[in-house]
């Protein structure tokens, strides 16, 4: 669906994206995970055609570069910064963005109602955006991105600064979009979100794509082994093991086990193993 072939992008002396090879498959949620400044937003901006790569190509299906309006109309974007007009109502914002994406008349009205219902803002559609909470603005930002029913949806940090309730609603919306067959590129620096939502994850740092795969694949390839934490004889024992049940039985046979838990590897550990530093450093 979306293909980056040896893509490079620099801002002056700063290399934002360095030699990116990536193919996002149709119908998947692809997560781009990395700390701030990793190059995720630059990648999204190149995917939508706002930025031209210094080198390499970005293509959407076989249609060509996303800088072409006819290709761009098939892409929906929810930028990291909430991009709505505060002096317009929710409905007016959607009507405006719909017209930018060639929707008109009855179809536009139907799509506005559908998008508002999708993000749960129908009852606030006639209120000015400046009266919305941060979470509501994020949800409307998402509605503007999916209004024209794009095949490819780029969501740049869509959960930043929202309350848990709105975050859950956004996650449900994204999973619903996947069930409709949409392809989604989701950038985040929250590993929990990537683990929860994404079919595949690409880990980026300093403009480079360090690893790509499903979460279990990444954990298996780049993560540590599960860690069994056992409290026995008043002491806490930590054991890295691929057979936690067997280890627990062995310890229980040796003495009483007061408590135990299993700590599974996370993408945080994967990132640590790949870069030598934590994701939020």
């Amino acid at each position: 669906m979306l293909k980056f072939a040896d893509v490079w992008k620099s801002y002056g002396n700063l290399t934002a994206v360095a030699g990116l090879f990536l193919e996002v498959r149709r119908g998947e949620i692809f997560g781009l995970l990395g700390p701030n400044g990793a190059g995720k937003s630059t990648t999204v901006h190149m995917a939508v055609g706002v930025l031209a790569p210094d080198k390499g190509t970005v293509t959407v299906d076989a249609l060509g570069t996303p800088s072409l309006p006819d290709v761009r109309v098939r892409i929906g974007v929810a930028p990291q910064a909430i991009s709505l007009y505060e002096s317009l109502t929710g409905e007016e914002n959607l009507a405006f963005f719909g017209r930018m994406y060639r929707l008109h008349g009855a179809r536009l009205r139907a799509r506005i109602n559908s998008a508002l219902q999708f993000v749960g803002l129908t009852d606030r559609k006639r209120d000015l955006i400046k009266t919305y909470s941060g979470g509501m603005k994020r949800r409307l930002n998402l509605a503007a991105a999916v209004l024209h029913e794009p095949e490819l949806i780029l969501l740049d940090e869509p959960s930043v600064g929202v309350d848990p309730q709105s975050r859950n609603l956004i996650f449900e919306n994204i999973l619903q979009l996947r069930s409709q067959g949409r392809t989604i590129v989701y950038t985040t620096h929250y590993m929990e979100e990537a683990e929860r939502l994404c079919d595949r994850v690409g880990i980026m740092d300093h403009g480079k794509l360090l690893a790509v795969g499903t979460v279990p694949e990444l954990l298996a390839q780049r993560g540590s082994k599960p860690e069994l934490v056992v409290e026995t004889n008043g002491k806490e024992v930590r054991l890295e093991t691929e057979d936690p049940l067997g280890e627990l039985n062995r310890l229980a046979a040796a003495g009483p086990v007061a408590n135990f838990r299993l700590e599974r590897p996370t993408l945080e550990q994967v990132f640590l193993n790949l870069t030598g530093r934590k994701l939020r450093d």
Partner: protein, 422 residues
């Protein structure tokens, strides 16, 4: 085209909801037009008088009569004071100037054609220099009127001539005194004869110069300003245009800083459509603004343009020019504050040099020449041309052509420097 219309419609909707933008776009220019219209309305009763303190140190009947003349003059709001009181009043800003009649005024007044002339001193507030020249002119006028009264009184004039002749007789003999004596002798005889001129008609009072003020118009029966609002409404409209341009220019910067411009860039629209939408919105707002102000001017202030088609031509050209300037304002700063500061820093001289604040005749000549580079000057000239100057279509081509050309140049420069993201 639908995309451009949608972009323009969105901007106009935002403008309508932006209260301070509405104030500077509609209310402020109306206030300017009405305020200046009232000031320049030509109602002499309402004209501002120059506040002066009169100090009579000569204290003679002659100086007293001159002081009374100043007090009764319609141009002055005068009060009597001694020197110290007068200076204090000026220093505190309560009076504009002190007119001091020094000792010897009466004696000097009695001498005709010789000796030093009567003298008055004007002590003026340094911050009121603009009124100094006016004050000097008004004093000369009073002096001329005093001389007129004096020379119209044949008996009084004869006394003055006799006194001068007596002084010449006692003065050391010289060729000049002899000539003056002969001249005054003849004048004395003339004043002693009946008051008839060479044609045998009764002689009138003496007056150095009679000035009749008439307004220039296209012809004896041609159009001319019917009231002061026909002159001040173009100024008001100019301020409305500037307010509107600033609102739109800063609006573009605001879209850039709030990310909506970047969001639009991600939509399937071209840079041309984006800029055309902005330009169309600004142009439509300027058209509505000018139409609204002209309507108010017509219905309430009895402004009657000589030609509505030429008004349309002037309004169209002014709107096109300032849409271009709006594009330039939008690239002057990266933040709203920076763009507003830089925008007003550009707009104020543009308006000032164009005659939007101070009438051009008050400016030094180099500033009047510099005004030729201000679109404001040409916008006002085009509107005045259509309203009361009686411009023909051909005469309108120069200001309108300059406006269109400057608008195109500014728009291209602004569009070239335009960046959707900061």
């Amino acid at each position: 085209m639908l995309t451009i219309l949608a972009l323009a419609q969105k901007d106009l909707r935002i403008l309508v909801r932006y209260k301070s933008g509405i104030f500077f776009t509609l209310i402020w220019p109306l206030m300017i037009a009405v305020m200046f219209g009232a000031i320049f309305s030509g109602d002499s009763d309402r004209m501002a008088k120059i506040k002066v303190a009169i100090v009579d140190e000569d204290a003679t009947p002659d100086s007293s009569r001159f002081a009374e003349r100043l007090e009764k003059s319609s141009e002055f709001e005068a009060l009597r004071a001694n020197r110290e009181q007068g200076m204090t009043l000026v220093r505190k800003g309560r009076q504009t100037a002190v007119i001091l009649i020094p000792k010897g005024f009466s004696e000097a007044s009695s001498r005709l054609f010789y000796g030093t002339p009567p003298r008055v001193e004007v002590w003026i507030d340094p911050s009121r220099k603009a009124e100094a020249g006016m004050l000097q002119g008004l004093l000369q006028k009073q002096a001329a009127e005093r001389m007129q009264t004096l020379l119209s009184d044949r008996a009084g004039s004869r006394d003055m001539v006799s006194k001068a002749l007596d002084e010449i007789k006692t003065a050391p003999p010289s060729e000049g005194n002899a000539a003056l004596g002969r001249y005054l002798g003849e004048l004395d005889r003339f004043l002693g004869t009946p008051a008839q001129n060479a044609a045998g008609k009764q002689m009138g009072s003496w007056q150095p110069l009679e000035v009749t003020e008439k307004a220039i118009s296209a012809g004896p029966s041609g159009p001319h300003p019917r009231n002061s609002f026909e002159i001040t409404f173009p100024q008001g409209i100019l301020w409305g245009i500037i307010g509107c341009v600033m609102t739109f220019g800063i609006g573009i910067v605001s879209e850039r800083t709030h990310g909506t411009m970047a969001r639009l860039q991600m939509a399937p629209i071209s840079r041309f459509q984006l800029l055309a939408g902005k330009a169309l919105a600004c142009f439509a707002a300027l058209a509505v603004l000018q139409s609204g102000l002209f309507l108010i001017a017509r219905l309430i202030f009895h402004v009657r343009p000589q030609s509505w088609p030429l008004v349309f031509m002037a309004g169209f050209s002014a709107a096109a020019a300032f849409v271009g300037i709006m594009m330039l304002v939008s690239v002057l700063g990266k933040t709203e504050q920076a763009a507003a500061g830089a925008g007003w820093a550009v707009m104020m001289p543009v308006a000032m040099l164009g005659g939007g604040m101070i009438p051009l005749f008050y400016m030094p000549s180099w500033m009047a020449v510099a005004g030729n580079f201000s679109p404001a000057k040409w916008a006002i000239l085009a509107m005045e041309g259509a309203i009361w100057r009686g411009f023909s279509l051909q005469e309108m081509l120069l200001p309108c052509g300059i406006l269109l050309a400057s608008g195109a140049a500014c728009f291209l420069a602004g569009a070239r420097a335009f960046r959707p993201t900061s």
